[in-house]
């Protein structure tokens, strides 16, 4: 289990779609001493200052900004870039107030440090939190730096500050026609105290916030110049590859051909690690060839946490979850669902389930470790939480956390993959190997090892019961989620309380059904489970929103109209539902015949994930039993926005992932081992199945919500609801590719 429990678990279980409340801390003002804007003032001094007093995260300009002599800005982001566009968003937000064009920002992931604890007092990149958690602080930070530059310019020109203004990258004295580039006064500004109060730019005057500003990393990523952990190299570095125990909990016993393998080309050494063997060589391919040639006998080690049972199978686990009875611990209750169900004119019942999923990010995990002469340990690691990785690395290395230097390179996709997951992180092995060979070591997990040790989205089943009145309106809904949530696994579970990550998307729904109960029956998950883009929502909204259509059908109501009626008192959601209907040319369920002669249908779904609201419509047909998704329309209301182009891209991405999970993906275990070890056995969405995606952003002005994940949850139910119209039966299990739908083509 990980530290930081109170923060992370509270944040990551914000099931009601309400933004996490932060205590608003004021600026600390001048008491922290001089700030550093200049190029001579890098993170080392910022770190030194950090120890002096209590830090208000996000307030100290020196920790974040370096204005360089050419007036470009080096910005240290508390959040890690992994494709979601956060570096660009940070440049837009800070640049708006600092008065520097975001295009003149160079952004990198910040080192560990108290200044960067912007996620509810902790720090991680996840939960679609980054912008909404830091927006106010980053605006103030930019405004503070601008204020200091104005002060420095006033001193330089011997004029009152009131006579000065700024335009992007420089201070102007319009009376005399003089201008000073920021880069020339950065050092002087750095000597000035942090302002206690700053005026923020009026929203109406925004030049970059709210605009489709170009991403900062696109050219480098289009020319192969972007560097990920897997690409890094340091002097004297050796390469390492591992072979893990086929089941977690096995330890290497006999290495039958160790001497032969040691003699293979380029091999430096062979190592035994907890639960794995490793080969170190002068290239990764040679290390891989060596370690995979090793004939290893594995023995069961007693006491391994979450050791994989030798008889574990996903099929049996699914059956167990579906057969588990009881109402469990209540998480959400309104009215009296039990009585309302007992007196309902009609009761609808169904049990749904969803499979384990792998993250499948294209960059295989890696870690580069170097022990320095001063006893410090330097790590370059894909991660979403530098301080947590630092603490864990320090523990493993037996040194103080401040002796562990963490570099957080760009991530080649993450989707929840790069949290601190112990057995799913390669860095402990890299630390061990670098120590053992007394050289820097870069360890890469092969795709096959990644499929063996990735954390999985948990498997879950949900039992629904709905009561309808004589007119077909839902009067009661009871849902019991069975399984285990990732938040409880990694941040501590209280036996008498429900892990919100197990029920989010079943709880927190917005429909006015007067009697509701959502409960959870905890069942230990034998797999190593983790966070997967949109977490519980990724399957729970599928369960709920498809069951919703079952209710509608049972009550002889159109599923769109029923949603609309049940949102009568919820204008924000009703507006959004109408927006997606309009975007799709008006609601029609079908089946209908498209211009190309195919028989098609549409499904609709709503979700309230991560502080945002989403309404989704999908149009599908069937060809030789294969589900074709033609168009997906998404209306998303994140309250207010920073970059509409990035939102559009994130929604496209979410549609692709949601579709992939709905149609194709399923991790299958037999005898405690995953059956797929690469994309050939675990297909992910290929380009030929990508639908057209249409996005409408609605800015309701509600508190800012997330963007990275919210587009995912509505996609599987919108698709499944549409398919059910075509095939005339409900599909209650994912992925949909498991159903034989031949014979119902249009």
């Amino acid at each position: 289990m990980n530290d930081m429990s109170p923060i992370a678990s509270e944040i990551m279980t914000s099931v009601n779609g309400k933004p996490f409340k932060l205590s608003r801390r004021g600026f600390l003002g001048a008491s922290l001493g001089a700030l550093v804007l200049g190029v001579t003032l890098p993170a080392a001094r910022a770190r030194a200052q950090a120890g002096a007093a209590t830090i208000a995260p996000g307030s100290r300009v020196a920790a974040f900004l370096e204005i360089r002599p050419d007036s470009t800005v080096l910005f240290r982001s508390a959040f890690i870039e992994g494709g979601q566009g956060i570096f660009t968003a940070m440049a837009q937000i800070v640049g708006e107030e600092l008065d520097v064009n975001p295009a003149n920002f160079v952004v990198e992931g910040a080192p560990p440090g108290p200044d960067y604890l912007l996620t509810g007092g902790g720090r991680f990149t996840g939960g679609s939190m980054s912008v909404r958690m830091s927006y106010d602080a980053m605006r103030k930070l930019g405004a503070s730096a601008r204020h200091m530059l104005l002060q420095a310019a006033a001193a330089r020109l011997s004029v009152p500050v009131a006579e000065l203004s700024t335009e992007p990258g420089r201070v102007l004295h319009s009376a005399s026609g003089r201008a000073i580039p920021y880069g020339e006064i950065a050092d002087a500004a750095a000597e000035l105290p942090l302002p206690t109060d700053v005026v923020l730019r009026d929203r109406a005057d925004f030049r970059w916030i709210g605009k489709p500003v170009a991403r900062l990393d696109v050219r480098d990523k289009s020319t192969g110049k972007a560097q990920y952990t897997i690409d890094l190299k340091v002097d004297g570095m050796l390469h390492a590859a591992v072979q893990h125990s086929p089941r977690l909990g096995g330890e290497p016993d006999v290495l039958q051909n160790e001497a032969d393998v040691r003699g293979m080309p380029g091999v430096h050494s062979i190592h035994r690690l907890p639960g794995a063997v490793a080969a170190v060589a002068n290239s990764w391919w040679r290390a891989r060839m060596a370690v995979e040639a090793l004939q290893v006998t594995w023995t069961e080690a007693a006491g391994t946490a979450h050791a994989m049972p030798a008889d574990f199978s996903t099929e049996a686990h699914r059956a167990k979850l579906k057969a588990t009875t009881g109402d469990g611990v209540a998480f959400e209750a309104e009215g009296d669902a039990q009585s309302a169900l007992a007196s309902a004119a009609r009761v609808v019942e169904a049990t749904y389930d969803a499979p384990y999923l792998a993250h499948g990010q294209l960059e295989p995990p890696s870690a580069l470790a170097r022990w320095n002469d001063d006893g410090s340990l330097e790590l370059w690691i894909p991660n979403q939480a530098p301080e947590m990785f630092q603490a864990e690395a320090a523990k493993l290395a037996g040194i103080a956390p401040e002796k562990v230097l963490i570099h957080s390179p760009m991530l080649g996709g993450f989707f929840g993959r790069h949290f601190l997951y112990q057995t799913a992180n390669p860095f402990p092995q890299a630390i061990h190997l670098a120590k053992a060979v007394n050289r820097p070591v870069k360890l890469i997990w092969s795709r096959e090892e990644e499929f063996l040790r990735d954390t999985l989205r948990p498997m879950a089943a949900v039992r629904f019961r709905a009561g309808l009145d004589a007119s077909g309106m839902p009067v009661a809904l009871s849902a019991v989620a069975v399984g285990e949530g990732p938040t409880g696994r990694w941040f501590g579970r209280q036996p008498d309380k429900v892990d919100g990550s197990a029920v989010e998307g079943i709880a927190g729904k917005v429909y006015a059904i007067p009697n509701r109960r959502v409960g959870q029956v905890h069942v230990d998950d034998p797999a190593i489970i983790g966070f997967w883009r949109s977490v519980g929502h990724s399957m729970n909204d599928f369960f709920y929103e498809t069951f919703f259509d079952e209710m509608a059908d049972a009550g002889r109501q159109d599923p769109y109209e029923l949603r609309h009626r049940l949102l009568a008192d919820s204008p924000r959601h009703r507006t959004l539902l109408e927006a997606v209907a309009k975007l799709s040319g008006g609601w029609q369920r079908g089946p209908f015949t498209a211009e190309d002669g195919t028989r098609r249908a549409r499904g609709v779904a709503m979700a309230s994930p991560f502080g945002s609201e989403v309404a989704t419509v999908a149009e599908v047909s069937l060809q030789q039993g294969e589900i074709i998704v033609h168009d997906v329309w998404v209306a998303i209301d994140p309250g207010s926005i920073v970059n509409p182009a990035i939102i559009d891209a994130q929604v496209n991405s979410a549609v692709a992932l949601g579709l992939s999970s709905a149609l194709l993906e399923e991790v299958v275990y037999v005898d405690g081992m995953p059956q797929a070890r690469n994309y050939d056995g675990y297909p992910i969405l290929a380009p030929d199945r990508m639908p057209r995606v249409h996005v409408r952003i609605v800015e309701s002005g509600a508190p800012m919500g997330g963007i990275g994940e919210p587009g995912v949850p509505g996609v599987p139910p919108a698709i499944a609801n549409a398919v059910s119209v075509l095939v005339g039966k409900r599909l209650r299990s994912l992925p949909l590719s498991k159903f034989d739908l031949r014979g119902v083509d249009g």
């Binding site: 690409d231 096959e448 549609v655 692709a656």
Partner: protein, 148 residues
């Protein structure tokens, strides 16, 4: 063994069955070409071998010793490549970016062979995986580059 990469000859001393990908990355330091799956499933490792899009993770270095190899490192020195990069930027294609070297190389091979590809040509050639789902932006960028 001598390799011709981006018009430059490189001498490498390596087991002949080593995949080209790892010669590029570990021997020659050209890390723009990515490792994704090692099984020719994802296409992150796509390079051009005599103009053909080739999965370097399953291509032995020995088999390309007499070929012209082009990698992403030389993309802006190539007329078609440069056009594609501009289209990639203008369509803001990449998200995490990890697959994009391979995507751009696949598109380069396509436009070299079919300067005016149909949508079907694009679908047939652009088969590399992208976990971020940038597929629509990729297709738009290829169309734009073809028209440029």
């Amino acid at each position: 063994m001598e390799l011709t990469i981006n018009g430059t000859k490189h001498e490498v001393d390596i087991e002949p069955d080593t995949p080209l990908l790892w010669v590029l990355r570990d021997e020659l330091g050209m890390t723009g070409t990515k490792y994704g799956c090692g099984l020719a499933q994802c296409g992150a490792c796509t390079v051009l071998v005599d103009g053909q899009a080739t999965r370097s993770c399953v291509t032995s270095v020995e088999s390309v010793a007499r070929s012209e190899i082009m990698t992403i490192e030389a993309i802006t020195e190539d007329t078609v490549g440069q056009k594609l990069v501009e289209a990639w930027v203008s369509n803001q294609v990449p998200q995490c970016g990890y697959c994009q070297s391979g995507q751009v190389m696949a598109a380069t091979a396509l436009l070299k062979q079919s300067p005016q590809p149909t949508d079907e040509d694009i679908a047939a050639a652009m088969v590399n995986l992208c976990r971020c789902g940038t597929y629509n932006a990729i297709a738009a960028a290829v169309r734009q580059a073809a028209e440029a």
